[in-house]
Amino acid sequence: MSEHFMSSSDLLALWLDGKLTPEQRAEFEQRCASDSAFAAQVETANWARQQAEDFVAAPVPNWQRENTFIEHNTSRWWQSPVWSWTSMAASAFAVMLVVSGVQFRYTDQGLVVSNQPAISEQQIDALVDKKISAATSAQQQSMQLALQQYSNALNEQQSERNLELTRYLLNSSRQERKEDFAELIQFINQQRQDDQFFFARQINQLQQQMYAQPDESVLPQTQE
């Protein structure tokens, strides 16, 4: 029964929120029928709701949506401002070291920091001269060594060529002598063969003469 005492304001609010129970809905309809002021309020609300539902939304003109995005949350660790401060501090420190002439030296006793020059200009000049002379002598030595190597190589090459020439001459002379001896032997053999033919023919002639004059003791005539 308590719902019957619900105020018009609450009833209308529930109706507008769409939260009326069946009993409340019945009460709402009854209130509309009996209360003209309430009914007029409902009618206006209904008209407004209908107007809103029928409202055709206007298209959005072109606008700069990108301007609403601010890229400040996307910084990475290497983009941190700490690094710029660190680099500036390091630069200031380096400038201070240069201006104050601080030098770092590593000696047997360890790392030494001082603002005095480690060596004088004369020592620097001596060191430079020493370095230059050492470099010059080293260059000369290297050049001499290269020249020596070149000379040795030339001598070796010349010796090889002489040896090859000697071998060639020996081989060629040996071959020529061999050919000469072969020709000589061939000639002697030819001569011996001719002599054999000659003596064979002499013997044959003598034999024929002996057969032709068997009683004559004829001594073989000597060849004139």
Partner: protein, 181 residues
């Protein structure tokens, strides 16, 4: 099938610096917000300015969004504050301190252009309402929020929201009766 990313997913991506996610979120709500701003200001240029201001404010405050209420409620809450700020500036600018409420008595030319009278009556009549009543009408009928949500967005009690709406309805009814006499 196209899967639509939720507001929370787009917000999380935008907070990580993904511009595209933020622009998708903007495009999702820009039309409703633009029409809200146009109804509240009665002027397209002002509505566009307000639209940009609201989204910039939303982006700045995005890390503070905890998801207790819906993103839409939070967005319209910010829009309401920006709208109030807009009215305050406009009042100072036009020196309308003596005026009861800064209303647009006549629709602006660009507003009249292309209007469909059938569904613009309420929007036009709203321009006659005080700002506080107009905001409640806007959120109730166009935003379709409940009275509890409206009260939360406007930082008022539920009963105040109801009374403002009923007062606005009464005035609207009077205006409509005058219109059709």
């Amino acid at each position: 099938m196209v899967f639509k990313k939720s507001d929370e997913q787009l917000i999380a991506a935008a907070l990580k610096g993904h511009k595209k996610a933020w622009l998708n979120l903007v495009k999702r709500y820009e039309q409703g917000l633009f029409n809200y701003a146009q109804r509240m200001t009665g002027n397209q240029d002002d509505a566009l300015d307000l639209l940009q201001e609201v989204f910039m404010a939303v982006f700045r405050n995005l890390p503070t969004f905890r998801g207790d209420a819906s993103f839409k409620s939070w967005l319209y809450r910010i829009a309401h504050y920006r709208c109030m700020e807009f009215y305050r500036r406009k009042r100072q600018h036009l020196d309308l301190d003596e005026a009861d409420e800064p209303v647009c008595a006549q629709p602006c030319p660009e507003q009249r252009h292309g209007e469909q009278q059938q569904n613009k009556q309420l929007a036009q009549a709203m321009q006659q309402l005080p700002f506080a009543q107009k905001a409640v009408v806007e959120l109730k009928f166009f935003g379709q929020f409940t009275f509890e949500e409206i009260a939360e967005q406007l930082d008022i009690s539920t009963n105040t929201a109801k009374s403002r709406l009923y007062a606005a309805l009464e005035k609207l009814r009077t205006l409509m009766e005058v219109e059709y006499v």
